[in-house]
Symmetry: C2
Subunit: 232 residues, 2 copies
């Protein structure tokens, strides 16, 4: 088996995009292994042998000897194993690292949960399973997402720092931005009325392009015209 | 302000118990700062100045200069900053660390989410907010929890290793065991029909007592007689 890192992903998945941008930007050599979620390729026995959780993203490294799932675990592993990864992505400084770790945990039940659940309820499930959108439930889920985005606007980005943790981009920013792009496909503009978030998302994109736009090509295409988005 | 680490917690909170056991077992000097969740002490402005997320557990270190929330971020920080912490808790070996990291992320939407939601729905909310338990919803939530526990039984603990990651206890075990104790208060026995889980929980308790039992004193007291529990 090839010694090169194998990366399993689908760019419809938020953490898959974050890791794609990270791998491209840090120039870690890797082999692309697409897993089409829409076609259920993650549910096959073949993929279960790669990732027992049957989710993307995941990696196989060390010639097949190391299998790893969970984006935040993979990002830590890559930052540790590949010397090409610049320190700012996952800082060795203990205080900065603590703040990046804190965000990566906090996001699981906040940025990630609220944006993903809104997107799934309003956009994905009606298309995949024919479910109907209940306006009250949509409003409730949108409210939870707005509360989370307001917290990021005021707390994380309201103290004059350029990125979520300090003035340099880290893996926290990649994960956050990719989550916050997701509800755009459901017609929700996360930046509306949030100047700090707007400027920060532009910075994350600028720091990581052309890979950011490559990762989000399908998101931009699906998002309706009412949501501001770059023209590629 | 004191230079000693300050630990804010409530032993009704699962990750608070995990960190309490960790601090006691590793002999890190710390000051106990109880935050009574039942009395809403986490919702005060005073506590908001300690943790902007208004949750426990959290720490204040470096004479008040470092504030950190999120149990998994705190555990990583303590393992890094305090030389007294033995390596097995958060191994430096890259592969073992990757597996501990993978569990700590996976648990957020699995062990943690399913056991906590079941406990809240069946036990906490009826007592705090007077809600009624819908048997269908209870069955659905119990099913999700059972699926998660079965995965731990068969995958994590079905390959002959003594702990979740290898043959030595790690922070993953502490977090997992404390989550899995929680639904006992709602009358659910997580060990029933799960021999691997039963033996593993006994090992975690044995490795960390008397602190494990100290942390779970209230859990054991609240859990009904139908759920097997140690007599203290």
């Amino acid at each position: 088996m090839s010694k090169i890192l194998r990366y399993y992903y689908d760019l419809m998945s938020q953490p898959s995009r974050a890791l794609y941008i990270f791998l491209e930007k840090t120039k870690i050599p890797y082999e692309r292994c697409l897993v089409n979620l829409g076609k259920g390729e993650h549910l096959t026995d073949e993929f279960k042998a790669v990732n027992r959780f049957q989710k993307v993203p995941c990696i196989v490294d060390k010639g097949g000897d190391l299998k790893l799932a969970e984006s935040v675990a993979i990002l830590r592993y890559l930052a540790r194993e590949y010397p090409a990864v610049a320190d700012h992505w996952y800082p060795k400084d203990s205080r900065l690292r603590a703040r990046v770790d804190e965000y990566m945990s906090w996001q699981q039940h906040n940025t990630r949960a609220t944006c993903a659940i809104y997107f799934q309820y309003v956009w994905l499930r009606p298309r995949m399973m024919g479910t109907k959108v209940n306006p009250e439930r949509e409003e409730q889920l949108r409210g939870q997402m707005e509360t989370c985005l307001d917290f990021i606007e005021q707390d994380y980005l309201g103290k004059g720092e350029k990125f979520l943790v300090g003035d340099q981009i880290s893996v926290a920013d990649l994960l956050a931005a990719c989550e916050i792009e997701q509800p755009k496909m459901a017609g929700f503009d996360p930046c509306a009325g949030r100047p700090n978030l707007t400027a920060w998302m532009a910075r994350v994109r600028e720091e990581t392009n052309p890979y950011y736009d490559q990762a989000h090509k399908l998101v931009y295409k699906i998002a309706p015209a009412s949501v501001p988005k770059p023209k590629l």
